[in-house]
């Protein structure tokens, strides 16, 4: 399936883009991350959480095909 991935803050610095679409044939968020780690080698050093459909999910969650976002530490306020 086609997955839209958004990158923010220091994660977008690593990926050098704010979003992209990827063709994904796996099941879990962790598998999607493996693809991204492979593509962006610096990503492994970064601290981030994953949101799916605007809710934080664990890497064991299933990818449902909705929007995925990689969120670095929050710094609001």
């Amino acid at each position: 399936m086609q997955i839209d991935i958004k990158y923010f803050g220091q994660i977008a610095e690593v990926t050098q883009q704010k979003e992209e679409s990827l063709e994904f044939s796996g099941t879990l968020v962790s598998e999607l991350l493996d693809i991204l780690y492979n593509k962006y080698t610096l990503l492994k050093d970064k601290d981030f959480q994953v949101a799916q459909n605007q809710e934080l999910v664990s890497i064991e969650a299933k990818v449902t095909g909705t929007e995925i976002a990689l969120l670095p530490p929050f710094a609001g306020g």
């Binding site: 958004k6 923010f8 803050g9 220091q10 949101a51 459909n53 605007q54 909705t66 929007e67 976002a69 969120l71 670095p72 530490p73 929050f74 710094a75 609001g76 306020g77």
Partner: protein, 147 residues
């Protein structure tokens, strides 16, 4: 894809003192209010490794952030007897000394506003996907992390 359906909390750039003053003035018709409590987050000119922060550049996952602000607002109205509540957060560049967060709660009674405001501010810091790039004088930067 979730539709953008929540109130937009974000403002471009710093939140001005006039804006805050006007916001206070608007509450003078609400005569059941006895106590207001206002939190303002201001950008600090922190010195890190001899370099001084001159500004923070804020970005956000805007749809999710507005949804989270909405959740925080609903939870606060459930928990506390509030007459009104307003939250504004900056996006883009906010210079040191300028205000980037404005949270305003009002209630008939003072004890409630203290509890409510702290609850809301802590929830914003913990749960809302806002990102801050601290810009130094020499245009280098580092990424801010809430503590």
């Amino acid at each position: 894809m979730t539709e953008k359906k929540h109130k937009n909390v974000f403002q471009k750039g710093a939140i001005s003192s006039e804006f805050i003053g006007n916001s206070i003035a608007k509450h003078q018709t609400k005569t059941s209010i006895g106590a207001h409590n206002i939190f303002l987050g201001q950008v600090r000119a922190d010195v890190i490794d001899d370099k001084t922060v001159t500004a923070i550049e804020y970005t956000a996952y805007e749809d999710m952030a507005n949804a989270k602000f909405h959740e925080i607002r609903e939870a606060a109205f459930d928990k506390f007897e509030l007459t009104c509540m307003h939250i504004y957060h900056s996006l883009g560049t906010v210079k040191a000394g300028e205000i980037c967060l404005f949270v305003f709660v009002s209630s008939p009674r003072r004890k409630i506003v203290f509890k409510a405001l702290e609850y809301i501010v802590e929830a914003i810091k913990a749960d809302v996907p806002v990102f801050g790039k601290e810009i130094f004088e020499d245009e280098s930067h580092q990424w801010k992390v809430n503590s």
